[in-house]
Point group: C2
Chain length 273, copies 2
């Protein structure tokens, strides 16, 4: 029988599925852990509902800011709220451009209309900007400011890069996505590699979602504890339980891992061992 060959859209959906089911994943929703309001099923429903926007991105037509908006719109209607905003910021240009060089080219072509569409999508989510941020999404003046300054979506990401590791990917050429994909390929096939790649990134990069919620000290402590797990000094289940209890969830690292799985799958890494 001829084997099923995944389209890029299916690689993106599979990446979302494999990330959320990987277990145990310290602090995040995983196979055996829900948040009170956002459950495994919400993440998996988003995986299904993102299809149309992913097809739009895969076609390489249309505007990236608008397509991110469509993905957020189509996946925010369940009671779980926003599940994958950060992942879409990465997956949409990667689908649009086919691979990392293509995504770098695609983000460089964004304009003010992308920035405005992105801000409108942002307003649909409950993601918080930094309090000091002058381009506050809750401020109707922000869109006017973007237009006045003629900012592109890449400019917005540049503006956010210091405080947001997902935005930073746009301006560093998807550096951590590349590293995550390389890690997966080094670690070998199968789901344990997703957990191990996640832990390795967590041990080496402060998660900006944790920083926004709890500050840099807690983010650094989480890095050190992830390192302890890698060094065999702490069990991953213990770290998971501690993170859950203290509401520490490395959500941005999860977004990077999703995009890394997407890239690795396209380069022959096998999820299915």
């Amino acid at each position: 029988m001829n084997c099923f060959v995944m389209r890029p859209v299916e690689r993106a959906q599979l990446a979302m599925m494999l990330e959320v089911t990987a277990y145990p994943k310290p602090g995040n929703v995983d196979r055996c852990h829900d948040y009170p309001e956002t459950r495994l099923e919400h993440f998996l429903a988003s995986t299904i509902f993102a299809r149309a926007a992913f097809e739009e991105a895969e076609s390489g037509k249309g505007r990236i800011g608008e397509i991110i908006g469509h993905a957020v719109r189509d996946t925010s209607c369940h009671a779980g709220g926003n599940t994958h905003f950060g992942a879409f910021i990465l997956l949409v240009p990667l689908l649009y451009g086919k691979d990392i060089p293509g995504a770098i080219a695609a983000v460089s072509k964004t304009d003010t209309s992308d920035a405005v569409a992105f801000y409108k999508a942002f307003a649909l989510t409950s993601v918080k900007m930094n309090e000091t941020d002058e381009l506050d999404v809750n401020d109707p003046g922000a869109i006017a400011a973007i237009r006045d300054r003629d900012m592109t979506l890449l400019d917005i990401m540049q503006h956010s890069a210091a405080n947001d590791m997902v935005a930073r990917e746009w301006v560093t050429g998807f550096r951590l996505v590349r590293r995550g994909a390389d890690l997966l390929k080094e670690l070998g096939p199968g789901r344990q590699s997703v957990v191990d790649a996640f832990l390795t990134l967590l041990a080496t990069e402060p998660d900006t979602f944790i920083i926004k919620k709890h500050g840099i000290d807690i983010a650094r402590e989480t890095m050190l504890r992830a390192r302890d797990v890698l060094d065999g000094k702490l069990s991953i289940k213990q770290l998971d339980e501690d993170c859950i209890q203290r509401d520490i969830n490395p959500g941005s690292t999860a977004d990077i891992i999703i995009a890394a799985i997407y890239i690795a799958l396209g380069e022959g890494w096998s999820w299915d061992s």
Copy 2:
């Protein structure tokens, strides 16, 4: 914001996802239990990979036997093997006909070409026919016999109905699917209802997948034990553990529940409470 309205294909995919993640589900793969060879991720990957065949079915064009074949082909390429053959036998006509009356009309229009295509799909799976079955899928003569007798796919299902509760749905007007959908609506919104509807069907209908594997006595015993759980005399976790240990998996009941979720979602039942 305008809320995302699911297409029938997305209802079918969501139904597959909600069934496999429902927990605990005695004996079957669920959120916290894999089979050694077939894991949660295989079932969820099939949910993603079935999309193209579901779109074909949703279009209401083409031949049902062939579309079931496409669904089986596209979801059998992972190491988990066949995950949803029975579910596709139900979902494809339901998508094709939009609802149960439409599906009844659709299956009545199948012909010998559907039967042949179905047998070819069947050969891709590891599903066992009854040993006494003269239309053995491993027998190359079977397809010739189907052509000689001018059997339609509905005839094949009629032929299999006594021993297979999924095939029986085609000839009884999707009676258990209807009952399962009604149960879900009575039980109310949310994932616990999937578990409860599953248990209720298991307590009232002998699962033919269990019969094929272990015989009617074990299937009847499983029904009584499911009844004990409903009556509060046995914990569902205990039943789950016993079934897993004895390799008793009510796979046909799971297929019926998937189709029931698909119908219930289309009639306003909410998965997301």
